[in-house]
């Protein structure tokens, strides 16, 4: 069976049944044919034996009758009368060219010519023939110049053989039917554990790791069920251990981030005070102080990103839906971070129902990444099409190799390990997790030497239509919907 043909349960069962029927039918047929042939042979031999015995006796009797001094004709008539009293055969006599017979339907001419030839040579001979629809065993012999032919009817013998054949055929048909029934039954019972096992394997594949087969059978299936269960046990244990390890790792990350938060808060506050006084520091202290301030900023980003990713892992993120215009959100995000001189922003207004804070974070991470790795000519474009709304962040930097592209969203993955940028290495991972939390995704296109393009795609929202003002008063400012809260993971 080719792997591509559809799986049809019941096929094996049918095949087993047919095999059963074939084996039973063939062996039954061979047996029946053998016994029929043997019976036929022995019955036919028997019949010949008896006919020959009778014929020898008849011929002796005939020779004694024909030797009597009466006229030939008279003697023959006497002979036929005498023989007629014996049942089981009819007699025909040809003497001196004249034909006599004990029955109207029988004549010496009906004896087969080969037999006649043998008889004329003086042999006692027999042959089977058929006329008027009746099978006959004809035995012929010559005595005192007369040819005698005894016609033994074998109609009954062949009737009996025919009956035997019918009985054997009917028996064979019954045997095949019974074999079919038994085959179906046996196949069903034999294959039941297979069906069960395949159902169990399927539910195991669907993640029901506690699935087990009923064990305890002492046959091959019992052994199979036992090994299946062992496998399921091992699988369940392994997966439990893996997810336990993963949970532990995530808990650890979360704990580390939380523990770091308080000292980092102090450091950030201290650095912000220090940076005000940098200008007034003695030159030998100023550079180290600058470095401290910059490194604290880096540490802060790392800890904030760690906390963000562990929150996302824990599924604690609340999604707060409101109507957001992507164009103004992108503009505000880039202005707030002081990137407006380095980034080209274009595109039409695209209103989505989404989480403003998370969108800001995604846009900031994508643009920040483009500025850090892409370098010059970063362009951001917003818009909407049939697939939903999108934000495209494009740079003209060195691009990313296909191998790097595969890992670009991995945590702490750095395309160029020699570069220690100011990023935490978590920015893209966080952006992707957030995009997925909002029901969207991030696509990447990149070509070595030409640049990269990251596209945030958001699902088509029910509330994409720009809300219109209502009431009689003038509207101040842009549009924003009544905020709604949804706690989601």
């Amino acid at each position: 069976m080719s792997a591509r043909s559809p799986i049809r349960p019941g096929r094996l069962r049918r095949r087993l049944t047919i095999a059963f029927m074939l084996v039973a039918g063939l062996s039954g047929a061979a047996l029946a044919a053998g016994s029929y042939l043997a019976a036929r042979e022995s019955r036919l031999d028997d019949s010949v034996e008896r006919a020959l015995d009778q014929s020898r006796f008849n011929l002796e009797f005939a020779s004694s009758v024909l030797a009597s001094p009466q006229s030939r004709t008279e003697a023959v008539r006497q002979l036929l009368d005498a023989l007629e009293r014996r049942s089981g055969f009819a007699t025909a006599v040809r003497v001196e060219g004249q034909d006599f017979s004990s029955s109207i339907s029988i004549r010496p001419a009906q004896a087969p010519p080969e037999l006649v030839a043998q008889v004329r040579r003086g042999q006692l001979a027999y042959q089977r023939t058929e006329f008027a629809g009746v099978p006959y065993l004809v035995v012929g012999g010559r005595v005192s110049g007369a040819e005698l032919y005894f016609f033994f009817s074998e109609a009954q013998l062949f009737d009996e053989l025919g009956q035997l054949r019918t009985i054997l055929l009917v028996g064979l048909a019954l045997l095949v039917l019974v074999a079919g029934g038994v085959g179906t039954l046996v196949a069903r019972r034999t294959l039941a554990p297979v069906a069960e096992a395949s159902a169990a394997a399927r539910s195991l594949a669907e993640g029901l790791l506690a699935t087990r087969l009923p064990s305890g059978g002492r046959d091959e299936f019992g052994a199979w069920a036992a090994s299946f269960n062992e496998m399921a046990e091992a699988l369940e244990g392994k997966i439990a251990a893996l997810s336990e390890a993963q949970a532990r790792e995530r808990r650890f990350t979360s704990d580390v981030a939380h523990e770091l938060r308080t000292p980092v808060t102090a450091l950030v506050a201290e650095a912000s005070l220090l940076s005000v006084h940098l200008d007034r520091m003695p030159p030998e202290a100023r550079r180290p102080a600058e470095l401290v301030v910059a490194d604290i900023a880096r540490l802060r980003r790392l800890v904030e990103d760690l906390m963000e990713i562990s929150r996302l892992d824990a599924g604690q993120g609340a999604v707060r839906l409101e109507l957001v215009d992507l164009a103004s959100l992108v503009d505000a995000t880039i202005r707030a971070r002081g990137w407006i001189d380095r980034v080209r922003v274009q595109g039409a207004a695209a209103v989505v129902e989404s989480d403003r804070r998370r969108l800001e974070q995604i846009v900031a991470n994508l643009v920040g990444n483009a500025l850090e790795h892409g370098g010059r000519d970063v362009a951001v474009q917003t818009g909407a099409d049939d697939a939903g709304a999108y934000v495209e962040v494009e740079d003209q930097g060195g691009g990313i190799t296909p191998e790097q592209l595969e890992r670009i969203f991995d945590r702490f993955y750095k395309a160029d390990p020699s570069r220690t940028g100011s990023g935490s290495g978590l920015g893209l991972a966080i952006a992707l997790e957030n995009a997925r939390l909002l029901g969207g995704d991030i696509e990447v296109w990149s070509e070595r030497g030409r640049g990269s393009r990251f596209t945030l795609r958001l699902p088509p929202s029910l509330a994409v239509a720009q809300p219109l003002q209502s009431g009689d008063g003038p509207v101040a400012g842009g549009a924003q919907d009544e905020a709604r809260n949804r706690v989601g993971g």
Binding site: T265, A269, L273, T333, Q469, G471, G473
Partner: protein, 227 residues
């Protein structure tokens, strides 16, 4: 005279550096290291501003906020672990005026402190506004309905005043954040939503079915004097 700030924060380093920053910015700072001590210090006030950490030993920041609001409408800024939790909303619902997310830079804290205090002070003298049955007196920082005096925090008062100055005009949340909270951009719109809820609870006959402070779905809020 320097404005007096009460800073309640349990971590010694954060407390010291925040106090230092606020002092350098011209505030007179009193510090407390737990909630109970914070309340004790507060009662020895008066203060022009309270900066309150959420996670405090003894009495947490929410409890302290609730207690202070019972006695005073002093502006309160909460120091919150993160901006996306219920922490922020709970704090605002208990009457905090704004929040700053940890970690923060001191200029940010100082800017928020100044913005919050500006709301409670130095308003140009204005005439009393009458909106429906409400009487708003900017000079006396008072709201009355008939003989009943309605107690509002500084933020609530500024929000009501802003809406009442141009009745029936729809204000977006962004505009209100800018005018009332002094945010340039990217303020948290929950500040507006929670403040409007609190204001409704105080001035509406039936806060569940507001007639005075109306929501304009998809746009923002407006004040309808006929309501």
């Amino acid at each position: 005279m320097d404005e007096r700030v009460l800073l309640v924060e349990d971590d010694a380093s954060i407390r010291e550096v925040a106090a230092l920053g606020l002092t350098q910015a011209g505030f007179a700072v009193t510090t407390a290291s737990d909630g109970r001590q914070g309340l004790v210090e507060f009662r020895q006030g008066p203060f022009d501003l309270v900066v309150l950490d959420v996670m405090l030993p003894e009495l947490d920041g929410f409890e302290v906020c609730r207690e202070i609001r019972r006695e005073s409408r002093v502006p309160i800024v909460m120091l919150s672990a993160r901006s996306d939790t219920v922490d922020v909303v709970v704090g605002l619902e208990l009457g905090a005026d704004d929040y700053v997310t940890k970690p923060f830079e001191l200029p940010e804290l100082v800017a928020r402190a100044r913005a919050v205090m500006r709301r409670s002070g130095e308003d140009p003298p204005e005439q009393t506004l009458v909106v429906g049955t409400l009487e708003i007196d900017p000079a006396g920082f008072e709201v009355r309905r008939g003989d009943e005096r309605i107690e509002l925090t500084a933020t609530e008062f500024r929000l009501l005043l802003e809406l009442a100055r141009r009745p029936r005009q729809v204000f977006t949340r962004e505009l209100l954040l800018e005018r009332v909270w002094n945010y340039d951009y990217l303020g948290d719109s929950r500040l507006v939503d929670v403040a409007v809820q609190r204001l409704r609870a105080k001035v509406e006959a039936d806060p569940k079915h507001p007639t005075l402070l109306q929501t304009v779905r998809g746009v923002g809020y407006r004040l309808d004097p006929s309501g």
